[in-house]
């Protein structure tokens, strides 16, 4: 099977005198590497320059709120069940009177924790969620941590801030997937 047309047939013929001298081949090789010396470098200087990773990159988790700023999560636990790395844990609680502007439905997650050392960023929690509550942001990564007590992310770091809402960019390819938080679906 031929995969590319770049392959060359290898010949085991005896070398001619010019080839035995090596020098023409050596000079040719040096010319090739010198050309690369002056070529534009492909390196992206990471912390200073960040590359756009596409609209479906799976980065930092976010617990979405709806338009009125109410948490969408109902602590059903489907994300924790779906999680292959068992990184998610939660404690459910019942919504009290007067908390209707905080939580969207009668049940909510009092505690919602993701262990970032266990998480493999597969996005299965996102797919499992029936309430469109948990997403992996495409525009932000989980920062590097130095201490073990930093790795468990609670609600304080997961719940979406109202002044910093996450909207996945409009992309015709991505729109077709069921996990896209488009405005129409968010309204349901």
């Amino acid at each position: 099977m031929q995969l590319t047309n770049r392959s060359k047939q290898v010949s085991n013929k005896e070398m001619t005198l010019a080839e035995k001298m090596y020098l023409p081949a050596v000079v040719g090789g040096l010319a090739i590497t010198l050309r690369h010396f002056f070529r534009k470098k492909v390196t992206i200087q990471y912390p200073e320059v960040k590359r756009y990773l596409g609209p479906i990159y799976r980065g930092h988790h976010v617990l979405k709120r709806d338009e009125q700023g109410r948490e969408r999560c109902t602590a059903c636990g489907l994300c924790a069940v779906a999680c292959p790395a068992e990184a998610i844990s939660m404690v459910a609680a019942e919504r009290k009177k007067g908390e209707e502007n905080l939580y969207r439905e009668e049940k909510y997650a009092a505690v919602y924790e993701i262990n970032m050392l266990r998480c493999i960023f597969c996005g299965l929690c996102e797919e499992a969620c029936p309430k469109q509550a948990v997403y992996l942001r495409h525009d932000r990564m989980v920062p590097v941590f130095q201490e073990r007590d930093e790795v468990i992310y609670g609600k304080d770091r997961l719940v979406e801030k109202m002044d910093d809402r996450y909207i996945r960019v409009n992309n015709s390819e991505v729109k077709a997937t069921p996990t896209e938080p488009s405005l129409t679906r968010a309204a349901t």
């Binding site: 047309n5 047939q9 010949s11 010019a18 023409p24 590497t33 010198l34 010396f37 470098k41 492909v42």
Partner: protein, 389 residues
């Protein structure tokens, strides 16, 4: 008076020593930068501006690593190995004339002190002697490690160095024949005019010398003593911390010294075209002392430009060519370079007899003609059409 000359001499030696170490240090940085650039990367750029503090960080890391001596190793020889490698590497730069001379007046008498560790009339022999001692550092270290891979690397290094030293010496003999002196300064002064640089009179000798210098420095394509793919790390497998650092450092010092040696022997040393005119103009306009010293400074810069080019060339070749097989290495040394350099000696001798300096071009021309004819007469390689396999 003697004390003053001694002081100036001591200063020159200290400066040369410092420059040697500095260049070896920054060769490690340059090696990584050149490697990166040849591979379309950027290379170290985090430590300081453009990564300029990288060698210092590397050295610091080397110093603070655990200094481990294997329990089965012969302890004193194990320590002696890197010391010898470093000692011989540092000693060899003593006789290289880096520039013309520093002139200063004392009691209305002008004294010229050559910019050179020591001017001896056997400079070339001295370098050869010290460089061939360098293999002991590798041998002793590899043997004392009590490790088969180290021993194999050391044996490879020894046999490679010994066999290439012959061709190295023979290619050098032609230069000695033309100059009639073993003093490096005399060899450089012989190349005062541009077209009498030995690269133009001895092109074949230069190619042989350059290749043998690569083999002597254990650089790619002849880095068989330390090839990772076959021998783990070669002779320094068991070494860690600054002992390893000394071995690696000695390699870069050797590279610097051989670059200096090549530029002194074949590229006119500190000479550059129209040098005598520049010197005269400087001495006429600025006075015999200041003008002369400035001219010396220009020579110094020119010489180092040549050295830096060759250091770059060493790296350039390293990141271009793959490693030779050991039998290819030995075939190249014994069956190609030694006969060729002997032929070179004979032709140069004949040329000297008839007072024609450029006689060795004859060999080069004959070789090119042979190569071209053999290529054109060789049967065309069968190339199987694409897609039929």
């Amino acid at each position: 008076m003697d004390l003053t000359i001694l002081t100036v001499k001591g200063l020159i030696i200290l400066v040369i020593f410092g420059i040697t170490l500095l260049i070896a240090t920054y060769s490690t940085y340059a090696e990584r930068k050149v490697a990166a650039f040849l591979q379309d990367r950027i290379g170290p750029n985090r430590a300081g501006p453009w990564g300029l503090l990288q060698p210092i960080a590397d050295a610091g890391k080397m110093f603070f690593k655990e200094d481990f001596i294997p329990s089965q190793a012969s302890k004193w020889l194990f320590i002696l190995g890197p010391c010898l490698a470093m000692l011989t590497a540092l000693m060899s730069s003593a006789v290289i004339p880096f520039s013309d001379s520093i002139r200063f007046a004392w009691d209305k008498v002008n004294y010229d002190v050559p910019v050179q560790g020591i001017e001896i009339n056997i400079g070339v022999l001295y370098i050869f002697g010290v460089v061939s001692l360098g293999v002991y550092g590798i041998m002793v270290g590899g043997w004392a490690s009590n490790n088969k891979f180290s021993l194999l690397g050391a044996i490879r290094a020894a046999s490679q160095n010994i066999s290439y030293e012959i061709a190295l010496g023979l290619s050098l003999i032609t230069i000695l024949m033309m100059t009639g002196s073993l003093s490096l300064r005399a060899i450089i002064d012989e190349q005062a005019t541009f077209f009498e640089w030995n690269i133009f009179t001895q092109p074949l000798g230069f190619v042989i010398f350059l290749t043998c210098a690569f083999a002597e420095c254990n650089r790619t394509p002849f880095d068989l003593p330390e090839c990772e793919t076959e021998l783990v790390g070669g002779y320094h497998t068991e070494y860690s911390s600054m002992k390893l650092g000394f071995y690696l450092f000695a390699e870069y010092i050797n590279m610097f010294v051989s670059s200096a040696f090549i530029s002194a022997l074949y590229f006119g040393g500190f000479h550059y075209p129209f040098m005598s005119l520049v010197n005269e103009a400087l001495e006429n306009s600025l006075g015999a002392i200041t003008g002369h010293n400035i001219a010396t400074l220009i020579c110094f810069v020119v010489f180092f430009a040549k050295i830096f080019f060759f250091i770059f060339f060493f790296m350039w070749v390293r990141w271009t060519l793959p490693r030779f097989r050991y039998d290819q290495l030995m075939n190249l040394g014994w069956k190609t370079f030694i006969p060729l350099s002997i032929l070179n000696v004979v032709i140069t001798g004949a040329g000297l007899l008839y007072d024609f300096k450029y006689a060795t071009w004859l060999i080069a021309i004959v070789m090119v003609v042979l190569a071209v004819t053999s290529t054109s007469r060789a049967p065309k390689r069968e190339t199987i059409a694409q897609g039929t396999v």
